[in-house]
């Protein structure tokens, strides 16, 4: 049986930083500064199988990037154990670097003034690939990522979409077993996003590359990842197949009511049902299934309105994630100190 690609147990990261006390003078602040501790990641555990495509999501400041940085050996954990491809990232950083690739959406790793081929060659040498393999891999990636049109252009002249394709290609030069992507589609237009997602799916399929991704983009999660881990306030609050996200998190149904003629009155609704939109041609209501069942709510709505058509549907993934981000923090005890 293949060992897990990533195994994390009881992982925590605390940051300590000095804070200025306004009541103290500057000498005291300099020599005996007060410090504050923040728990960015709080005793999380999970495992990822080789070839899996995992989305690691959460609101800003939830601990996503800190976790990725610990998994890649950039940050040292305060507590807990990490095994990535059976290596400890903190101790075997360089050895692990040969087996993983990283893309940070907001930082470029390419050489800005030189043509893209120079960056790809540069990474090839950095990963100690023989010259012939470098040439072959550049050819492969150029074909796969359709880099032909701009491979000879200086990187700083590329569009954002082209640059992100190039960033991912560079991260794949050494055929990593896992690729970590931190918001790879940030700032891209819909076409560029789709193109990048398709390429990542191809890489996952053809080279069995495990994908571990953080993103605020629902499309990334929906179209790329089969599994989603939700983190907030440093704790994992859910780890489930992506298709079950909506079912697990949303206790609400949406009902569209289309009138026979037109709606003239908008009466008060029973408890658990509220208007989302109300106009003469269409009413949309939200039903809270924790308060009222779907069947009962339909009966009550039909008593109140004369309708020609009814459409019942769940929230889309974007609404689900908004729901998670907005509601979950209030349901859990904050862990920040």
């Amino acid at each position: 049986m293949n060992p897990d690609a990533i195994r994390v147990s009881g992982l925590s990261k605390k940051f300590t930083f000095p804070v200025k006390e306004s009541s103290s003078n500057w000498i005291r602040n300099l020599l005996f500064p007060q410090t504050r501790e923040i728990t960015a990641v709080d005793a999380i555990s999970f495992a990822v199988k080789p070839g899996e495509r995992v989305a690691f999501i959460g609101p800003n400041g939830a601990g996503k990037s800190t976790t990725i940085k610990m998994l890649t050996g950039i940050l040292f954990p305060t507590l807990g154990e990490i095994k990535v491809l059976e290596l400890d990232p903190a101790k075997d950083r360089k050895k692990l670097a040969y087996k993983i690739g990283t893309v940070f959406g907001q930082r470029s790793q390419l050489l800005p003034n030189l043509p893209l081929t120079d960056s790809l060659e540069f990474f090839g040498v950095m990963y100690d690939l023989p010259n012939r393999d470098i040439r072959n891999r550049i050819r492969e990636l150029t074909d796969l990522f359709q880099l032909h049109a701009f491979v000879d252009q200086p990187v700083r002249k590329l569009s954002l979409g082209q640059r992100m394709r190039a960033e991912v290609a560079a991260a794949l030069m050494h055929k990593p077993e896992i690729i970590f992507l931190d918001e790879p589609t940030i700032g891209l237009d819909v076409v560029a996003k789709k193109s990048l997602r398709d390429l990542l799916l191809t890489i996952n399929k053809e080279e069995s590359t495990t994908i571990f991704l953080t993103s605020h983009d629902v499309g990334d999660i929906e179209s790329l990842c089969t599994r989603t881990i939700v983190i907030n306030h440093g704790k994992i609050i859910k780890d489930l197949p992506t298709r079950e996200l909506a079912r697990t998190f949303v206790y609400e149904k949406y009902i569209d009511l289309i009138p026979e003629k037109s709606f003239e009155h908008f009466p008060d609704l029973p408890e658990g049902i509220r208007y989302l939109t109300q106009n003469k041609n269409k009413i949309t209501v939200v039903v809270d299934n924790n308060t009222i069942g779907l069947q009962e709510s339909l009966k009550k709505l039909l008593d109140l309105f004369e309708v020609e058509d009814i459409d019942v549907y769940s929230a889309d993934l974007e609404a689900v994630i908004r729901h998670i981000y907005e509601k979950v923090p209030h349901e859990r005890t904050p862990t920040r100190k």
């Binding site: 040969y98 993983i100 930082r107 120079d118």
Partner: protein, 266 residues
């Protein structure tokens, strides 16, 4: 072998990058010829006032000493401190920390590669100009000079990179390292003989220039003086001493710095 291949790739990539911008090279050349040229004119005037000799030193020796300082400074090794500081402040350090490289060594080769092309061009132009205008001192016309110059030049590069890397790494602890950088940089400039040639230093400053790592990183400016052939091996020894001590310090400092790292978004 892998390290050498990577070093070669970094240096050649940086040279290629610099060649793409000939304007920068022209500006560098003019700035250095201007700075060095003005100082040499002033010293030429002062030496003439004193009938060509001050403290048993001639203008010819002083001019070459100052030229060596300026040529060495064209390598811009000091900028490794600022680069590391920027890496830490901007978070770019995370891009390099997840590569199979030694971060400090990578930055050192990167810095060296960035300055090498300008150094070669400006060094050659300056040597031709100086040789044509004022000639070459006899002390520079022997094999010991050539070999020892190569040794202190290479060791000077290593020591400079270590010194400024230490300053840069302080950014892991201190948000604003510019004042520290300024102090170290001015110490190197003064004790290296950029303002006043080392032959004219008072005794205490001369001793500081020899025994401090700041002065030791600029021993190339000592190589044309007559005493050099008798003393060069002790100068090399001093450089090796500081490289060993500060090199170990750099290693331990970096191990601590990595654990201190805290970048945007974690």
């Amino acid at each position: 072998m892998k390290e050498l291949r990577l070093a070669n790739k970094i240096v050649t990539t940086q040279i290629k990058d610099r060649i793409h911008y000939p304007g920068r090279l022209v500006a560098d050349t003019l700035a250095n010829i201007g700075r060095c040229g003005i100082l040499l004119l002033l010293y030429w005037y002062v030496f003439n006032l004193r009938e060509g000799t001050i403290q048993n030193t001639t203008f010819l020796l002083v001019a070459w000493s100052m030229f060596f300082y300026f040529a060495f400074s064209v390598l811009r090794l000091r900028d490794i401190g600022k680069t590391i500081m920027e890496d830490v402040r901007s978070g770019t350090v995370e891009i390099l920390l997840n590569k199979p490289i030694s971060y400090i060594l990578y930055r050192a080769w990167w810095q060296l590669g960035g300055g090498l092309y300008s150094f070669l061009v400006i060094g050659i132009i300056g040597t031709i100009l100086l040789t044509t205008l004022i000639g070459i001192p006899d002390t520079m016309m022997n094999l010991t000079f050539a070999l020892s110059l190569a040794a202190v030049f290479i060791l000077g590069i290593v020591l400079s990179l270590i010194l400024y890397s230490i300053v840069g790494m302080l950014a892991f602890w201190i948000e604003e390292i510019r004042p520290i950088f300024w102090m170290v940089d001015k110490s190197v400039m003064i004790l290296g003989g950029s303002y006043l040639p080392i032959a004219l230093f008072p005794d205490i400053m001369y001793k500081l220039a020899i025994w401090s790592p700041f002065g030791a990183s600029q021993f190339v400016t000592h190589t044309m003086y007559p005493s050099w052939t008798r003393e060069w091996y002790s100068f090399v020894g001093i450089q090796l001493f500081w490289i060993a001590i500060l090199g170990m310090f750099t290693y331990f400092l970096f191990q601590k710095a990595k654990q201190k790292l805290s970048v945007n978004g974690g």
